[in-house]
């Protein structure tokens, strides 16, 4: 679908500090009828992107010895170029936090190295196609039906999604499932477990404090923090944790130090924002 008879070639600009990788990428991209430019440093890359208006850019997260420099580049591009440009992240960093940070800053998609050429080409095709010598974003293709804007005062909506509670510790609630929630998202959560813990069968308000996304499985999760300044609430949580499933808890304790210190880190970085409205 990318091959086209016109002379027009969409431009793909890539940023990666690894020269060999750039050579490999260029070779892979010859399978598409596109023009490819590769850069190893940020400034010329940015200048070129601003001047040439590429159809898609590919960004590595680690540039030289600057870990996560790519994240800054993504945020910058989104600010300067706008929301239309597809930004593909291609990196060795496969950590859940990296994936979610990249998405939150505006990455359109995420691929991990080593380079899977078939997958990369498929992803690129997903984002761009050529129409009469011009690049159009593939997403715009909605079967000829155009969208109508809804007046802003009528836009409010809410909806329900299913997730699972994976863990409750004294700092908060860990939920997992298939949907990704950005940090700072206010959500309301209802569960038999929270009924048991707080005593009312209703939705309790929290704010997403931490999140993660597994790129491979698409599994996402979020950490909802308890309001540590509410001592009554914290006492309720601790009492409940002690009461609940004796043997289960004792067993956990033998393997607990590592796991619970992870929980502590989460809470220590925390600003107390969450409050089940008791």
């Amino acid at each position: 679908m990318l091959k086209n008879n016109t002379n027009f070639k969409p431009l793909i600009i890539s940023l990666d500090d690894d020269v060999d990788f750039n050579a490999l990428l260029t070779k892979v991209l010859t399978k598409l009828d596109v023009e490819t430019l590769t850069f190893t440093t940020v400034e010329p890359f940015k200048k070129m992107v601003e001047n040439k208006k590429p159809a898609l850019v590919i960004v590595d997260l680690n540039l030289g010895d600057k870990f996560g420099e790519g994240l800054k580049v993504i945020a910058d591009l989104r600010q300067k170029i706008g929301d239309e440009l597809p930004i593909l992240v291609l990196t060795k960093r496969a950590g859940k936090e990296d994936v979610s940070a990249a998405f939150e800053l505006g990455a359109s998609d995420y691929l991990t190295k080593p380079l899977d050429d078939i997958l990369l080409l498929a992803k690129i095709r997903q984002f761009i196609k050529i129409s009469q010598g011009k690049v159009v974003q593939a997403k715009e293709e909605t079967g000829g039906l155009s969208y109508k804007q809804i007046p802003s005062h009528q836009q409010d909506a809410y909806f329900h999604l299913g997730m699972r509670i994976q863990e409750i510790n004294e700092f908060g609630i860990k939920i997992t499932g298939q949907h990704f929630f950005s940090r700072g998202t206010p959500i309301k959560i209802k569960s038999p477990l929270l009924y048991d813990l707080f005593g009312e069968d209703r939705h309790y308000s929290f704010i997403v404090h931490q999140n993660w996304l597994e790129n491979e499985t698409g599994k996402a999760g979020a950490f909802l923090e308890f309001d540590a300044s509410n001592e009554d609430l914290m006492a309720k949580v601790r009492t409940w944790l002690l009461q609940r499933g004796k043997s289960e808890l004792v067993k956990l304790n033998s393997t607990a130090p590592a796991a619970s210190s992870a929980g502590q880190t989460q809470a220590n970085n925390a600003k107390p924002v969450t409050k089940p409205k008791a």
Partner: protein, 229 residues
């Protein structure tokens, strides 16, 4: 180690010492609860589930050992360490209290630096339990309610802007005054495609109307506000 937000229960019948301890502990950011007798102490323990207990060996008529014995009967009370405080240097009493589950011993008069050090040490040693739930645990299902904005609509779907990226193919139900007015309130929805990033952690999710009929589609078609996306 940061003590802020952690809680400590002081069980001592000496009013003055308690005031002093309260000042010291609260000054380090700890939440302090206090009891003067073993019975009160147990009630407080059940109610507050503190991170650590400071227990005087002599509580007026009662002995701190009574508290230790009763505490052992409570579920998972091992997670709450008890540090003994006493002016007596009776080795028999000390070893008895250690046998009953106390973890450490402080001699009176209390040295504030030593006290804080011991509190820190035992809070780190005894991490509080957590509860984990299996994939098939019915109790752990959670219904998440989220707000969003429906910015655009066409005859088959609408764009929902929200701070979650909804999984492709998810069945859901959008609740909105606007959709109700359009007669779409009874129609169920499905997320299609992948949420596209818009700005500051928000995503445009395409939400399809499942089984929309011609009459309803027409209503959308003739809708007045016409701004093309």
């Amino acid at each position: 180690m940061d003590l802020r937000g952690r809680s400590v229960l002081v069980i001592d019948d000496d009013e003055d010492l308690c005031k002093l301890l309260n000042k010291l502990l609260a000054g380090s950011g700890l939440n302090v609860a206090r009891a003067a007798t073993a019975t009160d102490g147990l009630a407080m323990l059940k109610q507050k589930a503190p991170h650590i207990v400071l227990l005087d060996i002599n509580l007026g008529g009662e002995s701190g050992l009574t508290f230790l014995k009763e505490k052992r009967e409570l579920p998972n009370s091992d997670f709450i360490p008890v540090v003994m405080m006493s002016s007596q240097t009776d080795k028999r009493l000390l070893s008895l209290s250690l046998a009953l589950g106390a973890v450490d011993f402080l001699a009176k008069p209390i040295n504030s630096q030593k006290l804080l050090l011991k509190i820190k040490k035992h809070m780190r040693d005894g991490p509080f339990p957590k509860a984990s739930f299996a994939e098939d645990d019915n109790e752990a299902v959670a219904d998440i309610q989220c707000d969003g904005k429906i910015s655009h609509i066409n005859e088959v779907s609408c764009l929902l802007n929200t701070s979650s990226k909804i999984k492709n193919g998810t069945d859901l139900k959008l609740e909105s005054v606007f959709l109700n007015e359009m007669g779409l309130g009874s129609i169920s929805n499905k997320a299609v495609g992948f949420g596209l990033y818009t700005s500051s952690g928000h995503f445009d999710n395409e939400i399809a109307f499942v089984g929309i009929n011609e009459e309803k589609a027409k209503k959308i078609r003739i809708m007045k506000t016409y701004v093309k996306k």
